[in-house]
């Protein structure tokens, strides 16, 4: 069938021309301080954004029109694919996902530049030039080696359809969120570099891009959690995180970005750590692009890797230019990045923030090391090896627990310095609560030392955060807020950034509780004839029936399982093992019974022709809290974002130094 797919490639070429034009106009505009050229550059960038949107729309149109003369459409969609997943096919393959990424990049860039052009013309001109340069790189990839509009002859009658594993609601939103996160960091990155180039190294660059940073960080956070939720509900191995290289690729920029979000607070409050901050945002962006590269280069084997593409070799020089260029301008401007204050004491809020940063960076480094170790080992010794979850758990868990402890400790410590006596007073209650929880759980028979420490630290941190809320609302009650609820609400709304941040910390505590529950997981795998049972912890699982049916897409085989506890029927579970016709591939559908105490998780790993079923079942204690914690985090993010000023005018105001009330 014909479609508007023919518009795709010409639009990409037009976008490339406009991006190049924008880059030139911005550079000249910046060098000559010509506002008219900067304005023209902004228009060119907007045009480039418009043409990439047209191009992406052309591909979406081709997907919906089932125009199988386009190879991408034939490879990733089919006549029988539902409408939602037909749209998801836009990011289901390498070329389409790159087009989607580029569309986000040019559009975010145009919006960011338009917003801050009047307030900060020179800064914006340089930032625009850098963003246009990044855009040129991705548009060149799309025009040359990763063209999504390559034609296919002869035209097949139907497409191959989308991989059934990707046909899940989580997969509809997980990739766009990750891409928004990755791409979103290009805005603070470009403004940081622009600040270095112009020599305007006060807080202007990050206050005017703070909403982008928060947006990118939030998208990445939610995207990572959704990826875990997808793995949990679709892949059928009972877990949510496997330390796969591509998971790591999204996690590393998240770690450095989290460090960045914290350390900019010190620059705002105390004018310190300026070099550190520009380096962190540079690292975050390089790691984000590196993540895109890892996914597409085929240099590491991962369940996520796209077919070894021709574009991997394009990324390394690009990454090299960004890293060396970035570090180069930092080195040139090092003298201008001097702190205006110094660390007064090891026991101070500043030191706690610094320790937090060091730990986040150590975590990112160890994960990077584990991810790249196979490549390094192969280059040095010639042996090929694989680094598995035991390594990552061993390095990451201790660092993460230290970070958790600091999450509780940091807000209790005052700026500049704190006397040991004052420290003792604020830390006493959280310390007692944490210890009581550890002792109580140990007496209750929990033997895992790691889990005990984790639960104890969760209690410590939750109490510390709680005491901050209590202190805040006490002040508001004294000032006349009547009830506890209205005092709490006032506390939250008067300083959204600080208390929204604490809500995010509480979400993290809940997530850690859920992760620690993983230490107590139970697994059974058994072959059951209809009517047979197996024990699973305190439960009995009985395979009562096999139900078969057919849809145009798949043959459905459903095992009906009775879940009993103490003889009482608590749930009927219906895991499936289906055969997808278009892909000629079986696909398991997991059945999960979830509650705050524990999940019961059942998968059929195979059916025998005589009707016997191989059932794999898990008890995953506390997993529910991971998703609950993520929702609390999202709530905190909304509170923080609602406290941020919108638009360029307020950004100007914020660049004027003022005694900001940030997480004080």
């Amino acid at each position: 069938m014909r479609s508007l797919g023919g518009l795709g490639r010409p639009s990409l070429i037009a976008a490339l021309v406009f991006a190049a034009l924008a880059c030139v106009l911005f550079v000249i505009g910046a060098l000559r301080s010509r506002r008219d050229l900067t304005r023209a550059g902004t228009r060119s960038l907007t045009a480039a954004s418009g043409f990439t949107i047209v191009s992406a729309s052309a591909l979406v149109n081709a997907l919906f029109a089932h125009d199988f003369s386009i190879e991408y459409v034939a490879n990733y969609s089919s006549e029988s694919l539902s409408r939602g997943y037909t749209l998801a096919a836009l990011w289901g393959g390498m070329e389409g996902s790159l087009l989607f990424w580029t569309m986000l990049l040019t559009t975010f860039s145009a919006v960011a530049v338009r917003r801050s052009r009047r307030a900060n013309p020179r800064l914006t001109a340089w930032a625009g030039a850098i963003l246009a340069g990044v855009g040129i790189f991705f548009l060149v990839l799309l025009v040359a080696p990763a063209d999504p509009f390559t034609r296919l002859a002869p035209v097949p009658g139907d497409g191959r359809g989308l991989n059934p594993l990707l046909q899940s609601p989580g997969m509809m939103i997980h990739p766009p969120l990750l891409y928004s996160g990755f791409v979103g960091f290009s805005i603070p990155f470009a403004f940081a570099l622009a600040a270095l180039i112009t020599g305007r190294l006060d807080e202007g660059w990050f206050t005017s891009t703070r909403r982008w940073t928060l947006f990118a960080w939030s998208s990445l956070s939610v995207g990572i959690v959704l990826g875990g939720a997808w793995a949990y509900t679709e892949l059928g191995w009972g877990g949510y995180w496997a330390w796969d290289p591509v998971e790591n690729a999204s996690f590393m920029p998240w770690l450095t970005a989290t460090a960045f979000l914290h350390s900019v607070v010190i620059q705002e409050k105390r004018r310190m750590l300026k070099i550190w901050n520009v380096t962190l945002i540079l690292l975050t962006y390089v790691l984000a692009v590196f993540g895109t590269f890892l996914t597409r280069s085929g240099i590491l084997s991962s369940i996520h890797t796209f077919t070894e593409g021709p574009i991997g070799k394009w990324f390394l020089p690009f990454l090299g230019v960004m890293l060396i260029g970035g570090l180069g301008v930092i080195a040139v401007r090092a003298d201008k990045l001097k702190s205006e204050n110094r660390f007064d004491s090891l026991m101070s809020r500043e030191s706690a923030f610094l320790a937090n940063n060091v730990l986040f960076l150590a975590a990112a480094f160890t994960v990077l090391w584990g991810t790249l170790y196979p490549i390094i080992a192969e280059a040095v010794t010639g042996t090929r090896l694989s680094v598995g979850p035991p390594f990552f758990n061993a390095v990451f868990i201790p660092i993460a627990l230290a970070i958790l402890a600091l999450t509780g400790l940091g807000p209790l410590i005052s700026w500049r310095r704190m006397s040991p006596g004052a420290m003792g007073r604020v830390i006493r209650v959280p310390l007692i609560v944490g210890t009581v929880v550890i002792v109580a759980l140990a007496l209750a028979g929990i033997g895992s030392a790691g889990a005990l420490i984790a639960f104890g630290l969760c209690a410590f941190t939750a109490t510390a955060v709680g005491s901050e809320f209590a202190r805040g609302s006490k002040i508001h009650r004294r000032r006349g807020a009547t009830g506890l609820a209205s005092a709490l609400a006032r506390t939250l709304t008067r300083n959204r950034r600080r208390y929204g941040g604490y809500v995010i910390h509480l979400g993290v505590v809940l997530i850690v509780i859920g992760l620690a529950g993983g230490a107590f997981r139970t697994e059974r795998h058994a072959l059951l004839e209809p009517g047979e049972s197996m024990r699973l912890g305190a439960y009995t699982v009985t395979y009562t029936d096999l139900r078969r049916s057919e849809t145009p897409e798949k043959e459905v085989n459903e095992a009906v399982l009775d879940l009993r506890r103490g003889g009482e029927l608590v749930a009927v579970m219906r895991p499936q093992r289906n055969f997808h016709v278009a892909q000629q591939q079986p696909q398991s559908e997991v059945s999960i019974r979830t509650n705050p105490v524990e999940d019961v998780y059942a998968v059929v790993t195979s059916f025998d022709p005589d009707g016997a079923a191989a059932i794999r079942a898990f008890i995953n204690p506390l997993t529910w809290w991971i998703w609950a914690g993520a929702i609390v985090m999202l709530g905190g993010i909304v509170i923080v974002m609602a406290g941020e000023p919108v638009g360029a005018r307020s950004a100007v105001r914020r660049t004027v130094p003022r005694p900001v009330a940030v997480a004080e």
Binding site: F68, A74, N75, Y76, G93, G157, G159, R160, N163, L165, L166, W237, L273, I275, W276, V278, T279, S301, I303, H304, T305, T307, I330, K338, N341, R342, F343, L346, L354, V358, A362, T366, W369, G370, Y373, T383, L385, S386, V387, G388, P390, F391, F392, A394, V395, P398, I399, H525, L527, Q583, Q585, Q587, S588, V603, T605, S606, D608, A612, A614, R616
Partner: protein, 138 residues
Amino acid sequence: MAQPLETATSPKRRAKFVVGGALLAVAVPTLIVWALSRPGAASFYVTVSEAKERGVTSQDYRVNGTVVPGSIERDGLVTTFRVTDGETEMAVTTDRPLPDTFKDESEVVVKGDLEGSTFVATEVLAKCPSKFKAKRAA
């Protein structure tokens, strides 16, 4: 890389941060080396021919290969099949769940150790999701 310690001015204060930095410079590599020595942390990839040469080890390693068409047999939870690297074939047995993309001619990685001439796999991986690329429809 950036120096977060640039602000320490007095010698005593500087010393504190230098000690802290040095501790960290030792702690992180130590953590990494310790973690790499944990059981299952790192496993070697070998070809089918190399696996046969190595024979029985007491360590897990990973073998890359292609499933020989027609060799898959299931008996309850136990699946046996043969993998090949194009030159040598090796029998594999496992009682672990197999990935959905596991079938004749799929490219697999089996993790485990040889027992006699049979490779006992504790994990079977197949190349998949976004790796999935449709064969060109004729």
